[in-house]
């Protein structure tokens, strides 16, 4: 099977379309970053408290908001997370609510605000074990074990520690199997938990209608530090590329590749701003990967140009470049298509945690493939034309040949 055989498309002749296309997307992204959504830094960079909560029923965002207001938390962002049937809610406190003095204060406030059905007059004692008010959906294994050790419902002698550790594991294991939240303590019977333990748990614990799945708390120092690191990583990555290509080819190839990659990054970040998707640390990883990928693609075309310059000494550079793009087109499209397939699998099946990461790659691979044809190669020709117009000799581009 072959998709592309003897193609001969005049890519350079369409450069005005390409320029228009790139301009529209870059400008839209930049405008959004400047005037509309800004750069939607994720919690890793801006600092703050994120609590991912799974409810046992369809969550009522309005009610959750009311609870947060009553707890005195200043405008938290509350939104459903992942597919609706998962009943997950993301509560996002801004950096102002996150102090490095007591970094988990926001988390504690959120959880206690959501625990609306604490039995009256009961409370949860951490050190000496529960006295009626602990929430079994959010109690740590240590709390559960301490409670069992204190109350000893199975009347165990010397090996109590071991037995109750196993019982605790069974309880927490069942809770995990239900996704972190279950409805009735009775459900534990028959899942490896001793009936006496179940009966005792009913005295000491209640069940709220939610479980905390994931907490991310980032103080302001780390956020600022990470922003700097991400910027440095991107700059070093670009510089490394410039040096390597300058060494392997000519410096103008390096410049063309870096301009191309910058174009890709700008459009990808712009897309994140336009869609208001958080840029987390993993998204930065994805952007650096797409820098590598886009560069990969560009080098394949450059390599062919270098080879063809050797073979076709008489021809115009624009013809050589066109020819090279066409010769590698089949490979470019195939690789892009296959990589796109794998990234699409990530986007579709990788779950919500990888959503931003795979989105960056989905956009990045499309743009990266387009740009090596539409941006990188034409820059070489434009540079050559500019040199000729200034009356200099054109063969600077006859790159170092290995």
């Amino acid at each position: 099977m072959e998709f592309f055989r003897d193609v001969n498309i005049d890519f350079l002749g369409k450069k005005w379309y390409f320029i228009a296309f790139s301009l529209i997307f870059s400008v839209a992204g930049v405008l959004s970053m400047l005037f509309w959504h800004g750069i939607p830094w994720g919690v890793d960079f801006r600092g703050g408290t994120l609590v991912y909560v799974k409810f046992s029923h369809t969550p009522d965002l309005g009610a959750v908001r009311q609870l947060m207001d009553r707890a005195g938390l200043r405008d938290p962002k509350i939104q459903t997370y992942d597919v609706a049937s998962n009943n997950e809610v993301l509560i996002d406190l801004s950096q102002k609510e996150t102090s490095e003095k007591a970094i988990d204060q926001g988390q504690i406030q959120i959880i206690s605000a959501l625990e609306t059905n604490v039995p009256a007059g009961k409370q949860c004692g951490a050190a000496t074990g529960a006295i009626g008010g602990c929430d079994l959906n959010n109690a740590s294994s240590l709390t559960i074990k301490n409670y069992l050790m204190d109350h000893d419902p199975m009347h165990l002698g010397t090996d109590a520690d071991q037995k109750y550790t196993a019982q605790t594991q069974a309880i927490v294991g069942y809770r995990n199997k239900t996704g972190g939240v279950f409805n009735s303590i009775d459900q534990l019977t028959g899942n490896g938990v001793d009936p006496a333990v179940v009966a005792s748990l009913k005295d000491g614990f209640f069940l709220s209608d939610f479980g905390v799945r994931h907490v991310e708390i980032v103080g302001p120092t780390v956020g600022a530090q990470l922003q700097k690191q991400a910027a440095l990583a991107t700059i070093y990555s670009l510089a490394g590329m410039l040096v390597y290509l300058g060494f392997r080819f000519e410096w103008i190839y390096g410049v063309a590749a870096v301009v191309t990659v910058f174009h890709d990054t700008l459009i990808t970040v712009g897309a994140f701003s336009l869609t208001k998707t958080d840029i987390s640390l993993t998204v930065i990883a994805a952007i650096l990967t797409l820098i590598g990928y886009s560069n990969n693609d560009t080098i394949v075309v450059f390599d062919r140009i270098r080879e063809n310059i050797k073979l076709m000494r008489r021809e115009k550079l624009s013809d050589i470049v066109n020819r090279s793009i066409n010769q590698t087109l089949s490979r470019t499209i195939l690789t892009a298509g296959l990589t796109f397939l794998t990234v699409l699998a990530l986007f579709l099946f990788g779950g919500e945690v990888l959503h931003g990461f795979s989105l960056a790659l989905v956009i990045g691979i499309l743009i990266g493939t387009y740009s090596s044809i539409a941006i990188a190669a034409p820059i070489l020709v434009a540079y050559q034309d500019w040199r000729i117009s200034r009356g200099k000799r054109p063969q600077v581009l006859a790159a170092k040949v290995k």
Partner: protein
């Protein structure tokens, strides 16, 4: 079939076996669960996949510097006194940020030579410079300052590791984090409630036993009122908070005047154990080292009838009368101490004090149910992506597609084997790295195959087309791999946790790809060609 081919085949099979061993070890049984267990024994799952707590701590290294500077100031005062040099004041102008900067104000004229020799002889770790108005500035030598700060971090890591080990957390990871910002990364797999661990790690547990000079007083003002002259503390005394009547119903906040100098401190402890005091309340009993015991004996011997104060983290824990000289045993009983507190406190005292305070910069907790979901989603995406690529290659390149698929699967095995051998941690972005490796790894095959097709179209015979295809594509493959590995290396340097995992898998994957897509694939082509008649077409 020639011997050369057999050698290469042997080499490939050997490598396959070596890396399979890296993934599975020698599994006890060949059933699905046994194999799955063998895999997770060799390839460790990151916190985001198995659940647990991730913390970033800032070591307040200036605390340690400040201790040194305070000592230096004492030494300086003493020396100035003994050399009879007058001065107006001695201060740390910017204690929070640069505690090592000590300014000596209004030094009497003509004391330059003496001052320089004092610093040279007694404070060799400090530089001294003169300024206007006979002010002199001391600051620690930059190299020594950096050393002191790094030492505080190393010591803090050591202390925290001791404490966590005693808590029984499995496979904790405690290491320096970031690029010289004096931070520590602590990863605690399977810990679902970090609150207690955090308290224990953060506790500086600075234990001091001092002489009690007065108290309890109901407030700071009351304490100052009781002094002679009124309102001024004696120069060798300090005021510390505590409780009066601890352990009784009349317990209330109170202030004590205690000596500035400690008789013994936490450094002199040999052991600490939870115990019960004479009222049956939980307490901590401790033993002192030989040297500390001697000092404690001298102190108590000289102060029979006086009171001593047990001070923990600058709070008076209890005050007791010295009835007779004590040598090397003591007890801390704060009254309201619970059993858990007495256990934790004795453990913390055993593990040593932190050289500097710490604060938490970042905290992430992944519940185990989320981790399990992520593993499921990641594996599903990996299988879907992999299958799509494998099937496409078969359809598009026919028999050569089989060749590419073999290379790709081998690539994956080597990548996972690498991770097994190096103890690399598989994170969720790491799984994404594996998937991306598949996508980008197939690029090498596509490059080579497309080039071979091109050479065939130009009328070359199959053997020479294969030869040309590989040699031309090789240059491009090196260029593309090097640039991608460069960006992965930068990611590794700057990234944290999961992102590092991604960089590692991507790099290993690309290295493995160089071997599989070029060498292995070539061997297969050569084998296919050797079985064909001259002029027979190649299935590509």
């Amino acid at each position: 079939m020639n011997t050369n081919f057999l050698w290469k085949l042997g080499a490939i099979l050997a490598i396959l076996l070596i890396f399979l061993f890296g993934i599975f070890g020698i599994p006890s049984r060949f059933s699905a669960p046994a194999l799955a267990k063998a895999v997770t024994d060799h390839i460790h799952l990151g916190l985001d996949l198995r659940g647990g707590t991730h913390l970033i701590l800032q070591v307040q290294v200036n605390d340690a510097v400040n201790v040194d500077a305070q000592n230096a100031m004492e030494v300086l005062k003493q020396q100035l006194r003994s050399h009879k040099i007058d001065y107006a004041d001695i201060i740390q102008p910017d204690q929070p940020n640069n505690p090592d900067h000590i300014v000596l104000k209004g030094v009497q004229a003509g004391a330059r030579t003496d001052l320089l020799s004092i610093v040279q002889d007694h404070l060799p770790e400090y530089d001294i410079t003169g300024g206007a108005d006979n002010n002199w500035t001391l600051s620690m030598k930059p190299q020594l300052l950096t050393d002191l700060k790094s030492k505080a971090v190393t010591q803090a890591i050591e202390t925290i590791r001791n404490r966590i080990d005693q808590l029984g957390v499995s496979e904790p990871q405690i290491e320096e984090h970031g690029l010289g910002q004096y931070q520590i990364l602590v990863q605690l797999p399977d810990v679902d409630d970090p609150a207690r661990v955090k308290d224990i790690m953060q506790s500086t547990a600075m234990l001091e036993i001092k002489q009690s000079l007065g108290g309890p007083y109901s407030s700071q003002q009351a304490a100052l009122q009781a002094q002679q002259p009124v309102g001024v503390l004696p120069p060798d005394a300090i005021l510390l908070p505590g409780h009066s009547n601890p352990g009784t119903s009349q317990e209330s906040e109170a202030w004590y005047v205690v000596s500035r100098v400690s008789a013994v401190s936490g450094k002199d402890l040999r052991d600490a154990q939870p115990s019960r005091d004479q009222n049956g309340q939980p307490s901590v009993s401790f033993t002192l080292t030989g040297d500390g015991g001697q000092r404690f004996y001298n102190f108590t011997n000289a102060h029979v009838g006086d009171s001593l104060a047990v001070v923990l983290d600058n709070k008076v824990q209890e005050v007791a009368n010295i009835k007779e000289p004590i040598r090397d045993r003591g007890e801390i009983s704060g009254g309201s101490m619970s059993e858990q507190t007495s256990k934790d406190l004795s453990m913390i005292l055993r593990s040593g004090a932190l050289p500097a305070g710490i604060k938490y910069l970042e905290e992430r907790t992944v519940g185990p149910s989320l981790g399990a979901d992520s593993v499921r989603a990641g594996v599903r995406a990996a299988i879907a992506g992999m299958l799509a690529v494998l099937i496409f290659m078969l359809v598009y390149y026919r028999w050569a597609g089989v060749n590419a698929d073999v290379a790709l699967i081998l690539n994956l095995i080597i990548l996972l084997g690498f991770m097994g051998y190096f103890g690399a941690v598989l994170t969720l972005p790491g799984i994404a790295g594996v998937i991306l490796t598949v996508g980008m790894g197939v690029d090498s095959n596509v490059l080579i195959f497309e080039r071979i097709r091109e050479e065939l179209r130009n009328g070359k015979t199959p053997p020479s087309a294969v030869d040309q295809g590989f040699s031309h594509a090789w240059i491009t493959i090196v260029d593309t791999h090097v640039t991608t590995i460069v960006s992965a290396a930068i990611l590794f340097l700057f990234g944290t946790g999961p992102v590092k995992g991604f960089a590692v898998t991507l790099t290993f994957g690309l290295l493995a790809n160089l071997f599989t897509a070029v060498f292995v694939s070539r061997v297969i082509f050569d084998w296919v060609l050797s079985r064909k008649q001259r002029g027979e077409a190649l299935s590509i």
